[in-house]
């Protein structure tokens, strides 16, 4: 089913008063408040392995950024793989790409349509605004459509009706950590609203260590708001709005450093906005309709301030303009896009020679300008979902979806491209026998790029003993090519050239002038595909004096094929469906509450990954594990400590221990909360890639929060 949990309850009618109330004449009656519970699917009946990260776990983890809590999910590869860009991938394959997992924020996809990725820095929500995160481990395209490929992360923000008062928070730490947050909320007669503004800054990995010479600091500002209005007891309207602004220092591109000198730092500037409206109507306790519409837009651009070297002398000078000449582009195309061949043959090409002479005659001013890597994406999405419990033993979720995606980029697309998709989905859960749940689901979709697709899933959950459920699941899923993979036409224009280069037509042979390297997608990329088989166990039980336990085990076999495994950047562009990966392994997660004051959480995964291309194994840790211990000491004090292990990411093991102490106390009408956290790596290895190194081992920060 699409929903695992849900929150819209309903005053449906009246019910008899308590037994002693019959003795009275004026006793009022309690309204019946029911229930999406009837329509929700408990974890033990979901045809998938699910990890739920609630506020307690988030709090205990001490995580500062959203992506960090994903370390609590078994089998999840999590790291800042590329300077300040986090990568999160369930059963990780490629380290830098975020293409194979769907991330939802209150049901709205933050998977960016134009360039197939999830930008974790820019998700417009702070951890403090999150109520819980539900992670479906395994393909879920049957419920969520394309791109729910290896899993789905569903981030559910706090309902404003459950948020009281205002909050201010300040966090200071080493490594340039400077975070601030203010949040406000208000309840009113038929609803509530909340709004938060969060600002986070840090210096990333260490500056001054090559190749991150310029540092990889970042500043992220997010705004997240939600308002709920209940015009009647059957209807709930929810407005979601927010956005983010990120400023990321980006490392220099090695390919460009070979032919040019950077004259300024590269900064990725990104702005995002979203607005969504949900209308939910409870026709009865067994029938619910939800209509969701949202729009989102994001703009990104990264500056490349460069002085191009003369290709013959290797020094600065007007000859650098040759890289933006029409003649060198023609030669590049004539060589079939072979970069090395082009550069080798250029000195002997008469047209290039003439252009070179023209540039030298221009006066000797260095060829310096700015290129912009720009991306603009817009999505409009409408979905109607109907949930019906049509008998005590059968429940159906069905719906339709229409989506319009638009990508615009002068650098990557040389214009605008669009994709419209239409979708139909249905998921049926039946209980033929009381302890058995059979789930059948399918998702049909059609989009302009990939045509028709269908993703099925079948599962059976059998509660063999009370609190102990066995599970078998078969699922197929797809990742559809994004607009960039399908319609890329890379043309990097140079702007802000010195005045002496004003007449580009005369000096460079064309206007506007583009970098000679050009890549064009053939438009033949097919969807990536996955087939998954899973056997699982879910138990929720008490073990005598040992206390309460929740255990999930998963054995899986996943085959991924038609993968786009090659690089897709301006210098290397290989849009081929030639990648294959096979995962098989076992995962476990255990939550154990030995007493009311202690929570121990253990996760572990052992995954055998076979791939026909090395790049598909860089983010695949064979062994990973985590432990989290949370202890409420009393008097408002708490302690938590966590251990994370991944062996290996790209041949580098990741091992770290965290410790946190804090206290929450009331001071009159206000509540003061503070915590001190320390992160200690347990080895000196870089993170995923050689350049990702910290100069100081420890990270620590102090957080002070006032609620009033």
């Amino acid at each position: 089913m699409r929903r695992i949990g849900g929150c819209a309850l309903l005053v449906l009618g009246l019910w008899a008063a308590p037994v002693w109330a019959q003795f009275e004449e004026t006793q009022g009656a309690v309204p019946r408040v029911l229930t999406p519970a009837r329509l929700d699917q408990p974890v033990s009946e979901v045809p998938a392995s699910v990890t739920v990260i609630d506020r307690e776990l988030i709090h205990a983890s001490g995580a500062r950024e959203l992506y960090e809590v994903m370390r609590l999910v078994p089998g999840m590869s999590v790291a800042k793989t590329d300077g300040n860009l986090p990568s999160v991938a369930y059963h990780g394959t490629q380290a830098r790409d975020q293409r194979r997992m769907l991330v939802l924020l209150d049901g709205r996809s933050v998977y960016q349509p134009g360039f197939a990725r999830v930008n974790w820095n820019a998700i417009p929500v702070a951890l403090e605004d999150v109520e819980r995160i539900e992670v479906t481990r395994g393909p879920a395209s049957a419920a969520y459509g394309a791109n729910a490929f290896v899993g789905v992360i569903n981030i559910i923000t706090r309902d404003p009706r459950d948020v009281g008062g205002q909050q201010a928070r300040l966090r200071l730490g080493n490594n340039g950590i400077r975070d601030a947050r203010v949040a406000a909320s208000q309840q009113f007669d038929q609803g509530a609203w909340r709004l938060s503004v969060n600002d986070q800054r840090d210096d990333g990995y260490d500056a001054g260590l090559a190749p991150l010479d310029t540092g990889d600091s970042k500043r992220t500002t997010t705004v997240n708001g939600r308002a709920v209005w209940e015009p009647g007891y059957r209807d709930t309207l929810t407005l979601h709005a927010g956005g983010s602004r990120t400023r990321l220092d980006r490392p220099y591109e090695r390919g460009l450093q070979d032919i040019a000198e950077y004259t300024d730092e590269s900064v990725e500037r990104a702005d995002r906005l979203f607005l969504g409206l949900d209308w939910q109507r409870q026709f009865s306790s067994s029938h619910q309709l939800k209509v969701s519409v949202y729009a989102q837009h994001n703009d990104e651009e990264t500056n490349l301030d460069l002085c191009f070297n003369d290709p013959l002398t290797g020094n600065g000078g007007p000859g650098g303009g040759l890289f933006f000449s029409k003649e060198l582009r023609d030669l590049y195309l004539a060589n079939g896009g072979d970069l090395d061949q082009t550069l080798a043959s250029a000195p002997a090409d008469p047209a290039v020679q003439n252009r070179y002479a023209t540039l030298l005659a221009n006066g000797g001013e260095p060829f310096c300008g700015t290129g912009w890597l720009d991306v603009s994406e817009t999505r409009y999405d409408l979905e109607i979902q109907d949930t019906l419990q049509f008998s005590e033993w059968a429940r159906l979720v069905a719906g339709i979806n229409v989506r319009h995606d638009r990508g615009e980029s002068r650098a990557y697309l040389s214009g605008t491209a669009e994709n419209v998709s239409h979708r139909l989905f249905a998921n049926l859960a039946v209980n033929p026998l009381a302890p058995v749940t059979v789930s059948l689901g399918g998702f049909w979709e059609h989009d302009d790029i990939s045509g028709e697709l269908f993703s099925p899933r079948a599962g059976i959950n059998w509660e063999v003993l009370p609190g102990h459920t066995l599970r078998a699941v078969y699922a197929r899923a797809v990742r559809t090519p994004d607009i960039y993979e399908d319609q890329a036409n890379i043309n990097l224009e140079i702007r802000d050239l010195p005045p002496s280069y004003a007449d580009r037509q005369a000096l460079l042979g064309w206007a506007p002038a583009y970098f000679f390297v050009n890549q064009q997608s053939p438009g033949t990329v097919q969807p990536e595909r996955i087939r998954s088989r899973e056997l699982g166990y879910y138990g929720r039980f008490t073990a005598g004096a040992l206390g309460a336990m929740e255990l999930d085990l998963r054995y899986f076999q996943e085959e991924l094929w038609d993968l786009v495994s090659g690089q897709l950047n301006p210098f290397n562009f290989e849009p081929e469906n030639d990648g294959k990966v096979r995962h098989r392994g076992t995962e476990a997660q255990l939550s154990w509450r030995p007493t009311a004051s202690h929570l121990l959480r253990l996760t572990g995964a052992r995954i055998h990954t076979e791939a026909n291309q090395g790049a598909e194994q860089r983010f695949a840790a064979r062994d990973s594990a985590g432990a989290l211990w949370y202890w409420r000491l009393g008097g408002g004090w708490w302690w938590s400590t966590a251990y994370h292990l991944a062996r290996d990411y790209n041949d580098y093991p990741f091992e770290r221990i965290d410790a946190q102490i804090g206290r929450r106390q009331r001071l009159g009408p206000t509540e003061l909360e503070w915590s001190l956290l320390l992160q200690q790596p347990l080895n000196d290895e870089p993170v995923v890639f050689d350049e990702n190194r910290y100069q100081d081992d420890q990270r620590y920060w102090l957080t002070v929060t006032v609620n009033f």
Binding site: V19, W20, R38, E131, R161, S285, P466, F541, M549
Partner: protein, 305 residues
């Protein structure tokens, strides 16, 4: 339990085998009550005559019928010259005690406030309080949600339970005072994240019709199951509750009357001590709480909506 010590009438609770804590607790209760009932039964004394006083004739008639059916002849309802008065509900209890020269009075299903006001030294009265005891509700909670460790309990000035509350081993009872009642919403929002479950006492002000929506919606959104305080709340969306029905109250009356006849004094006001379990199956399922076959037998709501 019921096999070990046969009792007239249906069993109070059919707890499944192996549910040690609940079984032991209930066995202890049954033993105490069974002995009391048996002691009374072994005395070949004539029936105590009682006058029934209720706010509505229908309630009085229904209770009299149940008393005849389950009373084992110990209590006989008469119109006049009764040895004692059984007053059903707050208003009847007040009226019975306000009558000049009233005789012994036993209130049945009387709220905490009325008990405090009316049951005074020398009043020749006692009361079976409305609601269920903390121990019984905790037994229900532990049975259905054995993983729960931190239990939130919200008490107001009118609640059936009053602080300090004693937590059984292994549980932490986080008792929050809600006064005035308008603080309920903010306190729920603040405290719920710290709890595994929320247990509600009978409280006509704090957990009456006007707050059910707030309590149940807020707790459900935060995935914190609510238990208690009564059948009405369970049907509204609470997971489960121990609830005394008419038959349970009749049994409690027999016990109080037997004590009064044996000693000439009323025992202290208290809860009925006999309960039925009501479960909202759908809510329990949404929380993935295991409703065992033994408990399924006792569920009385949601199957007959």
């Amino acid at each position: 339990m019921s096999r070990a010590r046969p009792r007239p009438g249906p069993p109070l609770w059919r707890a499944p085998a192996g549910r040690c804590s609940l079984s032991l607790m209930l066995a202890a209760w049954l033993l105490v009550w069974g002995l009391a009932g048996e002691a009374a039964a072994q005395t070949p004394a004539p029936a105590v005559t009682a006058r029934l006083l209720a706010a509505s004739p229908e309630a009085a008639t229904h209770f009299a019928d149940r008393l005849r059916a389950l009373g084992d002849g110990a209590v006989r309802v008469v119109e006049r010259d009764a040895e004692l008065t059984l007053a059903l509900g707050d208003e009847a209890f007040r009226m019975a005690l306000s009558a000049p020269g009233h005789g012994p009075v036993l209130g049945v299903g009387v709220t905490t406030d009325r008990v405090r006001e009316q049951v005074t030294a020398g009043c020749r009265c006692s009361a079976i309080r409305a609601g269920a005891s903390l121990a019984a509700q905790l037994a229900v909670l532990s049975e259905l949600m054995p993983a729960a460790r931190r239990i939130g309990v919200m008490l107001g000035p009118h609640s059936a339970w009053q602080a300090p509350l004693v937590a059984p081993p292994g549980l932490i009872l986080d008792v929050i005072a809600v006064d005035p009642p308008q603080r309920l919403g903010p306190l729920l929002r603040r405290q719920l994240p710290d709890w595994d479950a929320l247990l509600l006492p009978t409280d006509p002000i704090l957990f009456g019709p006007g707050t059910a929506r707030l309590v149940l919606l807020t707790s459900y959104r935060q995935r914190v199951p609510v238990f208690g305080p009564d059948a009405d709340y369970v049907h509204a969306g609470s997971v489960a509750s121990a609830v005394p029905n008419s038959d349970d109250l009749v049994r409690a009356v027999r016990r109080w009357v037997a004590q009064w006849r044996a000693t000439g004094r009323w025992q202290e006001p208290g809860f009925a001590g006999h309960y039925h379990l009501v479960i909202n199956d759908h809510v329990a399922r949404a929380y993935d709480l295991s409703v065992t076959p033994g408990i399924r037998l006792e569920r009385t709501l949601e199957n007959t909506p």
